[in-house]
Protein backbone atom coordinates (compact mmCIF):
# COMPACT_ATOMS: atom_id res chain seq x y z
CA UNK A 1 0.00 0.00 0.00
CA UNK A 2 1.56 3.28 -1.10
CA UNK A 3 0.42 6.18 1.00
CA UNK A 4 1.17 9.81 0.29
CA UNK A 5 0.77 12.35 3.05
CA UNK A 6 0.47 16.07 2.34
CA UNK A 7 1.69 18.17 5.22
CA UNK A 8 2.33 21.81 5.91
CA UNK A 9 4.68 23.40 8.39
CA UNK A 10 2.76 25.96 10.44
CA UNK A 11 3.25 28.25 13.41
CA UNK A 12 3.12 26.48 16.74
CA UNK A 13 -0.42 27.09 17.95
CA UNK A 14 0.96 28.70 21.12
CA UNK A 15 2.93 31.35 19.23
CA UNK A 16 1.82 34.96 19.42
CA UNK A 17 1.26 36.50 16.02
CA UNK A 18 3.12 39.73 15.40
CA UNK A 19 2.56 41.83 12.29
CA UNK A 20 5.39 43.99 11.02
CA UNK A 21 5.14 46.09 7.85
CA UNK A 22 1.92 44.36 6.86
CA UNK A 23 3.46 40.90 7.11
CA UNK A 24 3.37 38.21 9.79
CA UNK A 25 6.75 38.14 11.48
CA UNK A 26 8.47 34.77 11.30
CA UNK A 27 11.81 35.15 13.06
CA UNK A 28 12.08 33.57 16.46
CA UNK A 29 8.85 31.67 15.85
CA UNK A 30 8.60 27.96 16.53
CA UNK A 31 7.26 25.96 13.61
CA UNK A 32 5.57 22.59 13.86
CA UNK A 33 3.81 20.09 11.63
CA UNK A 34 0.26 21.39 11.19
CA UNK A 35 -1.60 19.45 13.93
CA UNK A 36 -4.19 18.00 11.51
CA UNK A 37 -1.38 16.82 9.26
CA UNK A 38 0.24 15.13 12.23
CA UNK A 39 -2.86 12.92 12.49
CA UNK A 40 -2.45 12.18 8.78
CA UNK A 41 1.19 11.15 9.24
CA UNK A 42 0.31 8.95 12.22
CA UNK A 43 -2.54 7.26 10.36
CA UNK A 44 -0.34 6.58 7.35
CA UNK A 45 2.38 5.02 9.49
CA UNK A 46 -0.13 2.78 11.27
CA UNK A 47 -1.66 1.63 7.98
CA UNK A 48 1.79 0.97 6.55
CA UNK A 49 2.76 -1.03 9.63
CA UNK A 50 -0.42 -3.14 9.28
CA UNK A 51 -0.56 -3.55 5.53
CA UNK A 52 3.01 -3.03 4.36
CA UNK A 53 4.08 -0.51 1.73
CA UNK A 54 5.59 2.95 1.82
CA UNK A 55 4.73 6.30 3.35
CA UNK A 56 5.88 9.38 1.45
CA UNK A 57 5.42 12.82 3.00
CA UNK A 58 5.14 15.82 0.72
CA UNK A 59 5.21 19.52 1.42
CA UNK A 60 5.15 22.73 -0.59
CA UNK A 61 6.92 25.34 1.47
CA UNK A 62 10.16 27.19 2.20
CA UNK A 63 13.45 25.54 3.10
CA UNK A 64 12.63 25.61 6.81
CA UNK A 65 9.80 23.14 6.10
CA UNK A 66 12.49 20.45 5.81
CA UNK A 67 12.39 20.30 9.62
CA UNK A 68 8.72 19.27 9.50
CA UNK A 69 9.47 16.60 6.92
CA UNK A 70 12.39 15.29 8.99
CA UNK A 71 10.09 15.09 11.99
CA UNK A 72 7.61 13.02 9.95
CA UNK A 73 10.51 10.79 8.85
CA UNK A 74 11.51 10.46 12.51
CA UNK A 75 7.96 9.40 13.34
CA UNK A 76 8.33 6.63 10.77
CA UNK A 77 7.62 7.89 7.23
CA UNK A 78 9.91 6.36 4.60
CA UNK A 79 10.57 9.17 2.18
CA UNK A 80 10.01 12.91 1.80
CA UNK A 81 9.51 15.41 -0.98
CA UNK A 82 10.09 19.12 -0.48
CA UNK A 83 8.86 21.59 -3.08
CA UNK A 84 10.84 24.59 -1.86
CA UNK A 85 11.26 26.39 -5.18
CA UNK A 86 9.74 29.85 -4.54
CA UNK A 87 8.28 29.70 -8.06
CA UNK A 88 5.92 27.04 -6.68
CA UNK A 89 4.43 29.25 -3.99
CA UNK A 90 1.05 30.93 -4.35
CA UNK A 91 -2.39 30.33 -2.94
CA UNK A 92 -4.52 27.22 -2.35
CA UNK A 93 -5.07 26.87 -6.10
CA UNK A 94 -1.31 26.91 -6.68
CA UNK A 95 -0.59 24.46 -3.87
CA UNK A 96 -3.14 21.96 -5.20
CA UNK A 97 -1.71 22.23 -8.74
CA UNK A 98 1.85 21.70 -7.47
CA UNK A 99 0.87 18.77 -5.25
CA UNK A 100 -1.04 17.21 -8.14
CA UNK A 101 2.04 17.45 -10.35
CA UNK A 102 4.14 15.78 -7.65
CA UNK A 103 1.57 13.05 -7.04
CA UNK A 104 1.18 12.29 -10.76
CA UNK A 105 4.85 11.37 -10.90
CA UNK A 106 4.36 8.45 -8.52
CA UNK A 107 2.23 5.45 -7.67
CA UNK A 108 -0.24 5.68 -4.84
CA UNK A 109 -3.24 3.95 -3.34
CA UNK A 110 -4.21 6.46 -0.72
CA UNK A 111 -3.52 10.13 -0.02
CA UNK A 112 -4.00 11.45 3.50
CA UNK A 113 -3.92 15.13 4.36
CA UNK A 114 -5.06 17.29 7.24
CA UNK A 115 -8.57 18.64 7.24
CA UNK A 116 -7.17 22.17 7.31
CA UNK A 117 -4.01 24.08 8.15
CA UNK A 118 -4.19 25.97 11.42
CA UNK A 119 -2.55 29.06 9.91
CA UNK A 120 -4.67 29.96 6.86
CA UNK A 121 -7.52 27.68 7.86
CA UNK A 122 -8.95 27.53 4.35
CA UNK A 123 -9.46 23.74 4.24
CA UNK A 124 -9.18 23.83 0.44
CA UNK A 125 -5.90 22.32 -0.64
CA UNK A 126 -6.62 18.63 -0.05
CA UNK A 127 -10.04 18.58 -1.69
CA UNK A 128 -8.77 20.65 -4.60
CA UNK A 129 -5.98 18.09 -4.99
CA UNK A 130 -8.53 15.26 -5.22
CA UNK A 131 -10.33 17.22 -7.92
CA UNK A 132 -7.10 17.80 -9.84
CA UNK A 133 -6.39 14.08 -9.72
CA UNK A 134 -9.95 13.09 -10.53
CA UNK A 135 -10.25 10.81 -7.51
CA UNK A 136 -12.91 10.73 -4.77
CA UNK A 137 -12.27 12.23 -1.35
CA UNK A 138 -13.73 11.90 2.11
CA UNK A 139 -13.01 14.69 4.57
CA UNK A 140 -12.73 15.15 8.38
CA UNK A 141 -12.17 11.51 9.29
CA UNK A 142 -12.25 10.31 12.87
CA UNK A 143 -11.78 6.65 11.91
CA UNK A 144 -10.44 4.87 8.84
CA UNK A 145 -10.65 1.17 7.97
CA UNK A 146 -9.01 -0.30 4.89
CA UNK A 147 -9.94 -3.80 3.68
CA UNK A 148 -8.25 -4.65 0.41
CA UNK A 149 -9.52 -2.11 -2.04
CA UNK A 150 -12.42 -1.02 0.14
CA UNK A 151 -12.37 1.81 2.62
CA UNK A 152 -14.83 2.57 5.39
CA UNK A 153 -14.43 6.13 6.58
CA UNK A 154 -16.09 7.61 9.64
CA UNK A 155 -16.37 11.33 9.27
CA UNK A 156 -17.15 14.08 11.67
CA UNK A 157 -20.22 15.72 10.17
CA UNK A 158 -20.66 18.82 12.32
CA UNK A 159 -20.70 16.78 15.51
CA UNK A 160 -22.56 13.82 14.05
CA UNK A 161 -20.85 10.80 12.57
CA UNK A 162 -21.27 9.87 8.94
CA UNK A 163 -20.00 6.52 7.67
CA UNK A 164 -18.85 6.55 4.07
CA UNK A 165 -17.70 3.63 1.92
CA UNK A 166 -15.27 4.23 -0.89
CA UNK A 167 -12.67 2.40 -2.90
CA UNK A 168 -9.03 3.12 -3.61
CA UNK A 169 -7.47 5.24 -4.96
CA UNK A 170 -8.83 7.82 -2.60
CA UNK A 171 -7.95 11.02 -0.79
CA UNK A 172 -9.01 11.49 2.82
CA UNK A 173 -8.48 14.29 5.32
CA UNK A 174 -7.85 13.88 9.03
CA UNK A 175 -9.89 15.43 11.81
CA UNK A 176 -8.88 15.71 15.46
CA UNK A 177 -9.63 12.37 17.16
CA UNK A 178 -8.49 10.19 14.27
CA UNK A 179 -5.60 8.95 16.40
CA UNK A 180 -3.04 9.98 19.00
CA UNK A 181 0.13 10.98 17.12
CA UNK A 182 3.28 9.39 18.51
CA UNK A 183 6.37 11.25 19.65
CA UNK A 184 9.25 10.49 17.31
CA UNK A 185 11.57 8.07 19.12
CA UNK A 186 15.27 8.78 19.60
CA UNK A 187 16.16 6.02 17.16
CA UNK A 188 13.62 7.44 14.72
CA UNK A 189 15.21 10.87 14.99
CA UNK A 190 18.67 9.44 14.43
CA UNK A 191 17.50 7.57 11.33
CA UNK A 192 15.56 10.51 9.92
CA UNK A 193 18.62 12.27 8.56
CA UNK A 194 19.57 9.21 6.54
CA UNK A 195 16.18 8.75 4.86
CA UNK A 196 15.70 10.09 1.31
CA UNK A 197 14.47 13.66 0.97
CA UNK A 198 14.06 14.96 -2.57
CA UNK A 199 13.70 18.62 -3.47
CA UNK A 200 11.65 19.48 -6.55
CA UNK A 201 11.50 22.63 -8.67
CA UNK A 202 9.08 24.10 -11.20
CA UNK A 203 11.13 22.54 -14.01
CA UNK A 204 11.25 19.09 -12.36
CA UNK A 205 7.47 19.08 -12.28
CA UNK A 206 7.10 20.20 -15.87
CA UNK A 207 4.98 23.13 -14.80
CA UNK A 208 4.92 26.68 -16.10
CA UNK A 209 4.27 29.77 -14.03
CA UNK A 210 0.98 30.38 -15.87
CA UNK A 211 -0.28 26.87 -14.97
CA UNK A 212 -0.05 27.55 -11.29
CA UNK A 213 -0.52 31.29 -10.97
CA UNK A 214 -2.42 32.21 -7.80
CA UNK A 215 -6.10 33.02 -8.25
CA UNK A 216 -6.35 35.10 -5.11
CA UNK A 217 -4.38 37.94 -3.66
CA UNK A 218 -3.88 38.95 -0.03
CA UNK A 219 -4.59 42.66 0.09
CA UNK A 220 -4.22 43.29 3.79
CA UNK A 221 -3.14 41.43 6.91
CA UNK A 222 -4.24 42.70 10.31
CA UNK A 223 -4.83 41.44 13.82
CA UNK A 224 -8.31 41.24 15.31
CA UNK A 225 -9.23 44.28 17.40
CA UNK A 226 -7.99 43.82 20.96
CA UNK A 227 -10.58 42.64 23.43
CA UNK A 228 -12.07 45.49 25.41
CA UNK A 229 -13.55 45.22 28.87
CA UNK A 230 -16.99 43.66 28.93
CA UNK A 231 -20.11 45.34 30.17
CA UNK A 232 -22.19 43.91 32.99
CA UNK A 233 -25.89 44.71 32.72
CA UNK A 234 -27.81 45.35 35.89
CA UNK A 235 -31.29 46.24 37.02
CA UNK A 236 -34.60 44.64 36.23
CA UNK A 237 -34.36 41.48 34.10
CA UNK A 238 -36.78 42.82 31.49
CA UNK A 239 -34.74 46.02 31.20
CA UNK A 240 -31.53 44.04 30.93
CA UNK A 241 -32.97 42.09 28.02
CA UNK A 242 -34.06 45.29 26.28
CA UNK A 243 -30.66 46.85 26.80
CA UNK A 244 -28.91 43.75 25.49
CA UNK A 245 -31.06 43.55 22.36
CA UNK A 246 -30.55 47.19 21.58
CA UNK A 247 -26.78 46.93 22.13
CA UNK A 248 -26.58 43.92 19.82
CA UNK A 249 -28.46 45.88 17.17
CA UNK A 250 -26.88 49.28 17.39
CA UNK A 251 -23.51 48.97 19.13
CA UNK A 252 -22.13 45.66 17.91
CA UNK A 253 -24.46 45.35 14.93
CA UNK A 254 -24.56 41.55 15.21
CA UNK A 255 -28.34 41.33 14.66
CA UNK A 256 -30.08 43.33 12.01
Amino acid sequence: MNILVCLKQTFDTEERIVIENGKIKEDGVKFVINPYDEYAVEEAIRLRDDLGGQVTVITVGPERAEEALRTALAMGADEAILADDPALFGDEYTAAKVLAAIVKQREFDLIIAGNQAVDDGSGQVAVRLAEELGIPHVSTLTKLEVNGNQVVAHRDAEGDEEIVEASLPLLVTAQQGLNEPRYPSLIGIRKANKKPLTKVTLADLGLSLEDIEARTEITETFLPAPKTAGQILSGDLADQVKELVSALKTKDKVVG
Binding site: E66, E67, R70, T71, A74, Y183, P184, S185, L186, I187, G188, I189, R190, A192, N193
Partner: protein, 377 residues
Amino acid sequence: MNFEFSSEQQMIRNMVREFAEAEIAPKAAELDRNARFPIEIFDKMGKLGLMGLPIPEAYGGAGADMISYCLALEEIGRACAGTGLSYEAHVSLACVPLLLYGTEEQKQKYLVPLASGEGIGSFGLTEPGAGSDAGGTRTTAVLDGDSWVINGNKIFITNGGYAKTVVLTAVTDPATRGISAFIVPTDTPGFSTSKPYEKMGMRASNTVELILENVRIPEENLLGPLNAGFKQFLSTLDGGRVAIAALAVGIAQSAFETALSYAKQRTQFGQSISKFQAIQHKLADMAMHIDLARTAVLKAAWRKDQGLPYTLEASYAKLFASEICTETCTQAIQILGGNGYMKEYPVERNLRDAKLIEIGEGTSEIQRLVIARQLGC
Protein backbone atom coordinates in the same frame (compact mmCIF):
# COMPACT_ATOMS: atom_id res chain seq x y z
CA MET B 1 32.87 29.19 16.14
CA ASN B 2 29.37 28.00 15.46
CA PHE B 3 26.56 28.18 17.97
CA GLU B 4 23.96 26.37 15.88
CA PHE B 5 22.38 23.05 16.83
CA SER B 6 22.33 20.28 14.26
CA SER B 7 18.94 19.30 12.93
CA GLU B 8 19.16 16.11 14.98
CA GLN B 9 19.89 18.02 18.20
CA GLN B 10 17.02 20.37 17.42
CA MET B 11 14.61 17.50 16.79
CA ILE B 12 15.63 15.73 19.98
CA ARG B 13 15.08 18.89 21.97
CA ASN B 14 11.68 19.49 20.38
CA MET B 15 10.57 15.94 21.00
CA VAL B 16 11.67 15.93 24.64
CA ARG B 17 10.10 19.35 25.22
CA GLU B 18 6.77 18.20 23.83
CA PHE B 19 6.93 14.97 25.79
CA ALA B 20 7.93 16.72 29.01
CA GLU B 21 5.27 19.42 28.69
CA ALA B 22 2.52 16.90 28.00
CA GLU B 23 3.50 13.90 30.13
CA ILE B 24 5.69 15.16 32.97
CA ALA B 25 4.92 18.80 33.84
CA PRO B 26 1.22 18.24 34.65
CA LYS B 27 2.25 15.68 37.29
CA ALA B 28 5.15 17.57 38.88
CA ALA B 29 3.20 19.14 41.76
CA GLU B 30 1.58 15.84 42.69
CA LEU B 31 4.87 13.93 42.53
CA ASP B 32 6.42 16.51 44.84
CA ARG B 33 3.51 16.51 47.29
CA ASN B 34 3.35 12.73 47.60
CA ALA B 35 7.08 12.07 47.13
CA ARG B 36 6.07 9.62 44.42
CA PHE B 37 8.57 8.13 41.98
CA PRO B 38 6.89 8.28 38.53
CA ILE B 39 7.67 4.80 37.29
CA GLU B 40 5.08 5.20 34.50
CA ILE B 41 7.01 8.17 33.08
CA PHE B 42 10.21 6.13 33.03
CA ASP B 43 8.39 3.38 31.12
CA LYS B 44 7.37 5.89 28.48
CA MET B 45 10.83 7.42 28.36
CA GLY B 46 12.23 3.94 27.80
CA LYS B 47 9.93 3.36 24.83
CA LEU B 48 11.06 6.64 23.27
CA GLY B 49 14.71 5.64 23.63
CA LEU B 50 15.51 8.33 26.20
CA MET B 51 16.87 5.96 28.84
CA GLY B 52 19.90 5.21 26.69
CA LEU B 53 20.08 8.53 24.85
CA PRO B 54 23.89 8.93 24.76
CA ILE B 55 24.67 5.19 24.80
CA PRO B 56 25.67 3.58 21.47
CA GLU B 57 23.02 1.61 19.59
CA ALA B 58 25.14 -1.53 19.93
CA TYR B 59 24.42 -1.41 23.67
CA GLY B 60 20.72 -0.69 23.55
CA GLY B 61 20.97 3.09 23.38
CA ALA B 62 20.14 5.72 20.79
CA GLY B 63 23.72 6.80 20.13
CA ALA B 64 23.07 10.54 20.40
CA ASP B 65 25.72 12.99 21.60
CA MET B 66 26.32 14.73 24.94
CA ILE B 67 24.83 18.00 23.66
CA SER B 68 21.55 16.24 22.84
CA TYR B 69 21.58 14.59 26.25
CA CYS B 70 22.02 17.97 27.96
CA LEU B 71 19.19 19.48 25.90
CA ALA B 72 16.97 16.57 26.93
CA LEU B 73 17.88 16.95 30.59
CA GLU B 74 17.18 20.67 30.54
CA GLU B 75 13.71 20.01 29.14
CA ILE B 76 12.94 17.27 31.64
CA GLY B 77 14.26 19.43 34.50
CA ARG B 78 12.09 22.32 33.32
CA ALA B 79 9.07 20.04 33.71
CA CYS B 80 10.02 18.16 36.91
CA ALA B 81 13.44 18.34 38.54
CA GLY B 82 13.03 15.13 40.56
CA THR B 83 12.24 13.15 37.44
CA GLY B 84 15.26 14.79 35.82
CA LEU B 85 17.54 13.83 38.71
CA SER B 86 16.54 10.17 38.57
CA TYR B 87 16.96 10.18 34.81
CA GLU B 88 20.38 11.78 35.11
CA ALA B 89 21.54 9.28 37.76
CA HIS B 90 20.34 6.38 35.61
CA VAL B 91 22.20 7.57 32.51
CA SER B 92 25.29 9.37 33.82
CA LEU B 93 26.01 7.41 36.96
CA ALA B 94 24.84 3.89 36.11
CA CYS B 95 24.91 3.47 32.31
CA VAL B 96 28.03 5.52 31.60
CA PRO B 97 30.42 3.63 33.95
CA LEU B 98 29.18 0.36 32.44
CA LEU B 99 29.88 1.75 28.98
CA LEU B 100 33.30 3.15 29.90
CA TYR B 101 34.69 0.32 32.01
CA GLY B 102 32.54 -2.73 31.30
CA THR B 103 33.82 -5.71 29.35
CA GLU B 104 31.86 -6.64 26.23
CA GLU B 105 30.10 -9.34 28.22
CA GLN B 106 29.21 -6.99 31.07
CA LYS B 107 27.84 -4.45 28.62
CA GLN B 108 25.63 -7.01 26.91
CA LYS B 109 24.37 -8.39 30.19
CA TYR B 110 23.93 -5.22 32.26
CA LEU B 111 24.10 -2.13 30.06
CA VAL B 112 21.73 -3.27 27.29
CA PRO B 113 18.72 -3.71 29.63
CA LEU B 114 19.34 -0.33 31.27
CA ALA B 115 19.94 1.62 28.08
CA SER B 116 16.96 0.08 26.33
CA GLY B 117 14.69 1.10 29.19
CA GLU B 118 13.95 -2.36 30.59
CA GLY B 119 15.31 -1.43 33.97
CA ILE B 120 16.58 1.51 35.98
CA GLY B 121 20.16 1.89 37.13
CA SER B 122 21.67 3.33 40.27
CA PHE B 123 25.09 4.30 41.54
CA GLY B 124 26.34 3.87 45.09
CA LEU B 125 29.39 5.79 46.21
CA THR B 126 28.30 7.79 49.27
CA GLU B 127 28.50 6.24 52.73
CA PRO B 128 28.07 7.58 56.24
CA GLY B 129 31.83 8.15 56.40
CA ALA B 130 32.40 8.86 52.72
CA GLY B 131 30.73 11.94 51.20
CA SER B 132 33.02 14.44 49.56
CA ASP B 133 35.88 12.18 50.59
CA ALA B 134 35.39 8.85 48.82
CA GLY B 135 38.53 7.72 50.63
CA GLY B 136 36.36 7.18 53.69
CA THR B 137 34.64 4.19 52.07
CA ARG B 138 34.01 1.36 54.55
CA THR B 139 32.00 -1.07 52.43
CA THR B 140 34.19 -4.08 51.72
CA ALA B 141 34.38 -6.68 48.99
CA VAL B 142 36.28 -9.88 49.69
CA LEU B 143 37.06 -12.52 47.11
CA ASP B 144 35.82 -15.91 48.27
CA GLY B 145 36.46 -18.65 45.73
CA ASP B 146 34.98 -17.37 42.49
CA SER B 147 32.71 -14.75 44.03
CA TRP B 148 32.95 -11.39 45.75
CA VAL B 149 31.24 -11.00 49.08
CA ILE B 150 30.16 -7.43 49.78
CA ASN B 151 29.24 -5.92 53.14
CA GLY B 152 28.41 -2.35 54.03
CA ASN B 153 25.97 0.55 53.75
CA LYS B 154 25.48 3.18 51.07
CA ILE B 155 23.45 6.29 51.84
CA PHE B 156 21.51 8.88 49.81
CA ILE B 157 21.34 6.60 46.76
CA THR B 158 19.19 7.85 43.89
CA ASN B 159 16.90 5.22 42.29
CA GLY B 160 18.07 2.60 44.81
CA GLY B 161 14.54 1.40 45.57
CA TYR B 162 13.65 0.90 41.89
CA ALA B 163 16.96 -0.20 40.42
CA LYS B 164 17.54 -3.42 38.53
CA THR B 165 21.30 -2.94 38.71
CA VAL B 166 23.52 -0.92 41.04
CA VAL B 167 27.09 0.06 40.31
CA LEU B 168 28.85 0.57 43.62
CA THR B 169 32.26 1.00 45.22
CA ALA B 170 33.88 -1.07 47.93
CA VAL B 171 37.30 -1.38 49.55
CA THR B 172 39.18 -4.30 48.05
CA ASP B 173 42.61 -3.66 49.54
CA PRO B 174 42.45 -2.22 53.05
CA ALA B 175 46.23 -1.99 53.29
CA THR B 176 46.58 0.40 50.34
CA ARG B 177 43.02 1.78 50.63
CA GLY B 178 42.33 0.27 47.23
CA ILE B 179 38.74 0.81 46.11
CA SER B 180 37.05 -1.10 43.28
CA ALA B 181 33.75 -0.90 41.49
CA PHE B 182 31.19 -3.71 41.20
CA ILE B 183 28.03 -4.49 39.33
CA VAL B 184 25.36 -5.69 41.74
CA PRO B 185 22.01 -7.00 40.50
CA THR B 186 19.47 -5.87 43.09
CA ASP B 187 17.82 -9.29 43.27
CA THR B 188 20.98 -10.76 44.79
CA PRO B 189 20.29 -12.24 48.25
CA GLY B 190 21.56 -9.98 51.04
CA PHE B 191 20.83 -6.79 49.08
CA SER B 192 18.10 -4.58 50.52
CA THR B 193 17.09 -0.94 50.68
CA SER B 194 15.71 1.29 53.43
CA LYS B 195 12.46 3.14 53.09
CA PRO B 196 12.90 6.37 51.08
CA TYR B 197 14.34 9.44 52.82
CA GLU B 198 12.02 12.36 53.57
CA LYS B 199 13.60 15.04 51.41
CA MET B 200 13.33 18.82 51.19
CA GLY B 201 13.14 18.74 47.39
CA MET B 202 13.69 16.42 44.44
CA ARG B 203 10.84 14.50 45.98
CA ALA B 204 9.83 12.74 42.75
CA SER B 205 13.27 11.15 42.81
CA ASN B 206 13.69 7.98 44.84
CA THR B 207 16.50 8.19 47.42
CA VAL B 208 17.27 5.30 49.75
CA GLU B 209 19.96 3.61 51.78
CA LEU B 210 21.48 0.42 50.37
CA ILE B 211 22.15 -2.35 52.84
CA LEU B 212 24.59 -5.04 51.76
CA GLU B 213 24.82 -8.12 53.98
CA ASN B 214 27.01 -10.86 52.57
CA VAL B 215 25.96 -10.00 49.04
CA ARG B 216 27.63 -12.64 46.88
CA ILE B 217 28.24 -11.73 43.24
CA PRO B 218 30.29 -13.56 40.60
CA GLU B 219 33.97 -12.68 40.35
CA GLU B 220 33.40 -11.30 36.84
CA ASN B 221 31.15 -8.56 38.24
CA LEU B 222 34.21 -6.50 39.12
CA LEU B 223 33.86 -3.36 36.96
CA GLY B 224 37.16 -2.05 35.61
CA PRO B 225 40.57 -2.77 37.08
CA LEU B 226 40.99 -3.98 40.65
CA ASN B 227 41.73 -1.23 43.21
CA ALA B 228 41.18 1.54 40.64
CA GLY B 229 37.51 2.21 41.37
CA PHE B 230 38.19 5.58 42.89
CA LYS B 231 39.97 7.08 39.90
CA GLN B 232 37.39 5.54 37.64
CA PHE B 233 34.56 7.31 39.36
CA LEU B 234 36.25 10.65 39.21
CA SER B 235 35.99 10.56 35.44
CA THR B 236 32.40 9.28 35.60
CA LEU B 237 31.60 12.28 37.74
CA ASP B 238 32.90 14.74 35.12
CA GLY B 239 30.15 13.70 32.68
CA GLY B 240 27.59 13.63 35.46
CA ARG B 241 28.52 17.16 36.46
CA VAL B 242 27.78 18.51 33.01
CA ALA B 243 24.48 16.65 32.97
CA ILE B 244 23.36 17.78 36.41
CA ALA B 245 24.29 21.34 35.43
CA ALA B 246 21.90 21.01 32.47
CA LEU B 247 19.23 19.96 34.95
CA ALA B 248 19.92 23.13 36.96
CA VAL B 249 19.47 25.23 33.81
CA GLY B 250 16.08 23.58 33.28
CA ILE B 251 14.92 24.33 36.83
CA ALA B 252 16.11 27.93 36.58
CA GLN B 253 14.36 28.33 33.22
CA SER B 254 11.11 27.09 34.71
CA ALA B 255 11.32 29.51 37.67
CA PHE B 256 12.21 32.37 35.34
CA GLU B 257 9.28 31.71 33.02
CA THR B 258 6.86 31.69 35.95
CA ALA B 259 8.35 34.92 37.32
CA LEU B 260 8.31 36.72 33.98
CA SER B 261 4.71 35.94 33.17
CA TYR B 262 3.62 36.72 36.72
CA ALA B 263 5.45 40.06 36.68
CA LYS B 264 3.72 41.04 33.45
CA GLN B 265 0.23 40.37 34.71
CA ARG B 266 0.47 41.45 38.38
CA THR B 267 -0.59 45.05 38.93
CA GLN B 268 0.36 47.17 41.95
CA PHE B 269 0.37 50.95 42.30
CA GLY B 270 -1.64 51.09 39.10
CA GLN B 271 0.86 49.38 36.85
CA SER B 272 2.32 46.04 35.98
CA ILE B 273 5.09 45.19 38.46
CA SER B 274 7.27 44.39 35.42
CA LYS B 275 7.42 48.18 34.90
CA PHE B 276 9.26 48.64 38.21
CA GLN B 277 12.99 48.88 37.68
CA ALA B 278 13.68 46.75 40.77
CA ILE B 279 11.73 43.88 39.23
CA GLN B 280 13.20 44.47 35.78
CA HIS B 281 16.73 44.20 37.14
CA LYS B 282 15.91 40.90 38.78
CA LEU B 283 14.43 39.53 35.55
CA ALA B 284 17.39 40.80 33.52
CA ASP B 285 19.87 39.10 35.86
CA MET B 286 17.90 35.87 35.81
CA ALA B 287 17.73 35.77 32.00
CA MET B 288 21.44 36.57 31.69
CA HIS B 289 22.50 33.98 34.28
CA ILE B 290 20.44 31.26 32.64
CA ASP B 291 21.84 32.01 29.21
CA LEU B 292 25.42 31.99 30.49
CA ALA B 293 24.88 28.78 32.47
CA ARG B 294 23.39 27.09 29.40
CA THR B 295 26.35 28.23 27.33
CA ALA B 296 28.77 26.82 29.93
CA VAL B 297 26.92 23.49 29.91
CA LEU B 298 26.91 23.27 26.13
CA LYS B 299 30.58 24.20 25.90
CA ALA B 300 31.54 21.42 28.31
CA ALA B 301 29.26 18.99 26.47
CA TRP B 302 30.73 20.03 23.14
CA ARG B 303 34.27 19.44 24.41
CA LYS B 304 33.25 15.99 25.58
CA ASP B 305 31.70 15.24 22.18
CA GLN B 306 34.91 16.39 20.49
CA GLY B 307 36.98 14.10 22.70
CA LEU B 308 38.72 17.07 24.35
CA PRO B 309 39.49 17.28 28.08
CA TYR B 310 36.57 18.88 29.91
CA THR B 311 37.13 18.38 33.64
CA LEU B 312 37.58 22.11 34.20
CA GLU B 313 34.60 23.10 32.01
CA ALA B 314 32.45 20.46 33.73
CA SER B 315 33.17 22.01 37.11
CA TYR B 316 32.61 25.55 35.81
CA ALA B 317 29.24 24.49 34.43
CA LYS B 318 28.16 22.55 37.52
CA LEU B 319 29.22 25.26 39.95
CA PHE B 320 27.83 28.21 38.02
CA ALA B 321 24.58 26.56 36.91
CA SER B 322 23.74 25.22 40.37
CA GLU B 323 24.44 28.51 42.14
CA ILE B 324 22.56 30.71 39.67
CA CYS B 325 19.74 28.19 39.73
CA THR B 326 19.23 28.60 43.47
CA GLU B 327 19.57 32.36 43.13
CA THR B 328 17.09 32.47 40.24
CA CYS B 329 14.54 30.45 42.21
CA THR B 330 14.94 32.71 45.25
CA GLN B 331 14.39 35.79 43.11
CA ALA B 332 11.42 34.16 41.37
CA ILE B 333 9.78 33.71 44.77
CA GLN B 334 10.54 37.35 45.56
CA ILE B 335 8.88 38.49 42.33
CA LEU B 336 5.77 36.46 43.12
CA GLY B 337 5.65 37.90 46.64
CA GLY B 338 3.30 36.01 48.96
CA ASN B 339 2.15 33.81 46.12
CA GLY B 340 5.74 32.74 45.58
CA TYR B 341 5.79 31.31 49.09
CA MET B 342 2.67 29.23 48.49
CA LYS B 343 2.49 25.71 47.12
CA GLU B 344 -0.10 26.84 44.60
CA TYR B 345 2.76 28.25 42.52
CA PRO B 346 5.70 26.13 41.39
CA VAL B 347 8.55 28.44 42.40
CA GLU B 348 8.83 27.28 46.02
CA ARG B 349 9.22 23.73 44.70
CA ASN B 350 11.78 25.01 42.19
CA LEU B 351 13.85 26.42 45.06
CA ARG B 352 13.67 23.24 47.14
CA ASP B 353 14.70 21.19 44.09
CA ALA B 354 17.45 23.61 43.09
CA LYS B 355 19.33 23.44 46.38
CA LEU B 356 20.23 19.78 45.86
CA ILE B 357 22.34 20.60 42.83
CA GLU B 358 24.75 22.59 45.00
CA ILE B 359 25.27 19.39 47.03
CA GLY B 360 24.99 16.27 44.86
CA GLU B 361 27.76 15.04 42.55
CA GLY B 362 30.35 17.18 44.28
CA THR B 363 29.40 20.17 46.44
CA SER B 364 30.12 23.73 45.38
CA GLU B 365 33.10 23.71 47.73
CA ILE B 366 34.46 20.62 46.01
CA GLN B 367 33.89 22.19 42.55
CA ARG B 368 35.97 25.20 43.59
CA LEU B 369 38.62 22.83 44.83
CA VAL B 370 38.63 20.95 41.50
CA ILE B 371 38.88 24.23 39.60
CA ALA B 372 41.69 25.53 41.77
CA ARG B 373 43.56 22.25 41.37
CA GLN B 374 43.22 22.56 37.57
CA LEU B 375 44.70 26.04 37.88
CA GLY B 376 47.75 24.46 39.44
CA CYS B 377 47.08 25.52 43.04
